[in-house]
Amino acid sequence: MTDVPPLLNVRNLKVHFFTQAGVAPAVDGIDFRVNPRETLGLVGESGSGKTMASLAVLRLVPPPARIVSGSIEFQNRDLLTLDEAALRDLRGKHVAMIFQNPAYSLNPIFTIGDQLTEILRWHEPVSRTAARDRAADLLRLVGIADPLQRLRQFPHELSGGMKQRICIARALLCNPALILADEPTTNLDVTIQAQILDLLAELRDRLRMAMLLVSHDMGVVARMAHRITVVYAGRTCETGDARTIFHTPQHPYTRALLESTPRIDHDYEHATRPTLRTIGGRIPNLATPPTGCRFHPRCAEATEECAQLRPVPFEVAPGHSVSCLKRGSPGVAA
């Protein structure tokens, strides 16, 4: 797998917030790559910078945040050097996005049909009727039984699950090579989440697409991702195969994250007062991030040097890299 040139390669991405109070380094060196036809799970809690990183791929980081440095290569082109016209061609056509909250990601005052055909006609020279037919086909593809009727409806007339199906159809309109899915099921009920995840997995395999799945939910990532990148407080902690990450995690944060999640497939002895492993402290304020390794204030293994040096990704096994001084990462003064 590793000799295949990656579809998307993000290196040392930095996105900072420029506010009146000062500069907050929200994303401060995130690396990840997505290979063709592969799903990468980008896992982190709130404030980890995972959403900013995915928006940065489309160069859609909202002010006052700005991409400060790093490189984002997609199909061997550096996206950070593209002009507006090239970006427009990229967005929606080669890289498409699915958002967290389907209730807010459709324009409330236009019909579904108008919203879908508009995008299609902007990217491809097709007639109105051809665009409508293609939109209807796609709705059928995402499992909507009565596409022609749905095209005439407004978003508020549809349920949450239905809206997310439509958002998926919107992302697939131009057959993109890469889908960015930012917590696509977080706001849905479990049974609807299961439907949507199944749909995404099926479409991804059928249409041979790569996917960047941003999520905080280990279960969702386990279900969907081939490889996983774990991020914490704006930096990459660990990257590896899904199996490696779940079975032999190396980074203390990854381990803690897995062990602190209650599991549905585990019997807890209620008579003996079960406890979950916890991560002490709280998620850092990114206006004043910790020095050195950003996880060190909450890390059980941290030593003096963790507060001084910033760990650099280190390959502990082929395809498995960890940023932790205790696992062999070289440190740089930060």
Binding site: L60, R88, G92, S105
Partner: protein, 323 residues
């Protein structure tokens, strides 16, 4: 369709109720202070018996207040507003003539302001927190706080008195129209009052629109439109603006509804022969039929435009529930 009709009928009935209620409030307020004849006699010792008789006949002064209200309402319902005491002309006709002069200024001022506000707000909201935004917003806040009549005074001082480009009063030249054309002459007289009205409306609408636009531009569906590769211009003017303008409809409705009600100030600054000036002279002369007539027309306009606003909401915003 049935839903819309049902909704319309309900709103229409409520609007009629509003007009009835407000007209009653106005009638009782103006009549409770003192009955017209006493007031007229107190203020005009020299009033002619003929005029007094006309008022007495019009108001059925022997009847109790609520009966007088019903009688008056009956006349108004037949569009009979009575005869002006000061001019002896039918009030309805006077309102039409003078009202037309007012609308000639107000309608273009509102429409022009809306267009300019859209442009300013879009520029400011797209570059939120930039120098442009700060400049536009400062100017708008400034213009919004500048009392209309003060702007009128400044315009007259500068462009009429000092530079002598535009006339300082009236809607037409009394003699020698400009370039021999009454049309050009009329337009020439409109420039200053129109500017005064437009500036204020533009400033207020810009403030409102920009605030809404900033809110809308933060929404996920805007991000989604950008992520789909739509050009920024399309995102702002098609997707964002349409959403942002919906809450402004209410204010637009009020602007249109109050066209006659806000006229007194403009028209006394520019000595403009419109409904506002008419109303002021009616109050001075205690011309009851005229005062009541114009207040009634203003109320009906206000209620009517509120109704139209509701309708516009239904047409533009699919989320409005009709029941």
């Amino acid at each position: 369709m049935v839903g819309i009709l049902r909704y319309l009928i309900r709103r229409l009935l409520f609007s009629m109720l509003l007009v009835l209620g407000v007209s009653a409030i106005i009638f009782f307020l103006l009549n409770a202070i003192g009955n017209p004849v006493d007031v007229l006699m107190a203020d005009n010792p020299g009033i002619t018996d003929q005029a007094l008789a006309a008022v007495k006949a019009y108001y059925h002064l022997d009847a109790p207040v609520w009966q007088r209200y019903l009688i008056w309402l009956g006349h108004v319902a037949q569009l009979d507003f009575g005869t002006s005491i000061s001019t002896n002309l039918p009030v309805g006709g006077m309102l039409l003539t003078f009202g037309a002069e007012t609308l000639k200024l107000q309608i273009p001022a509102i429409l022009l302001a809306l267009l300019m506000a859209i442009a300013f707000a879009a520029v400011a909201a797209v570059r939120q927190y930039s120098r442009t935004d700060f400049g536009v917003m400062s100017a708008a806040l400034f213009g919004h706080s500048l009392p209309g009549f003060l702007l009128g005074v400044l315009l007259i001082l500068i462009f009429a008195y000092w530079l002598g480009i535009f006339p300082s009063y009236g809607a037409y030249s009394t003699r020698n129209p400009l370039m021999g054309s009454y049309v050009i002459d009329g337009a020439w007289h409109m420039v200053l009052p129109l500017t005064m009205l437009t500036v204020f409306n533009t400033a207020t609408l810009t403030l409102l629109l920009r605030a809404n636009l900033v809110d809308v531009l933060r929404q996920d569906f805007i991000m989604a439109a950008r992520a789909s590769g739509l050009p920024e211009r399309r995102v702002v003017f098609h997707h964002a603006l349409r959403n942002a303008i919906i809450p402004v409809l209410t204010y637009l409705g009020i602007l249109f509804g109050l066209m006659l009600a806000t006229a007194p100030v403009t028209e006394s600054v520019f000595t403009w022969p419109g409904a506002g000036a008419l109303y002021l002279s009616a109050i001075q002369a205690l011309d009851y039929p005229l005062i009541m007539g114009e207040t009634m027309v203003v109320t009906v306009m206000l209620v009517g435009f509120t109704l139209l606003t509701d309708l516009a909401y239904v047409l533009i915003d699919p989320r409005i529930r009709l029941d």
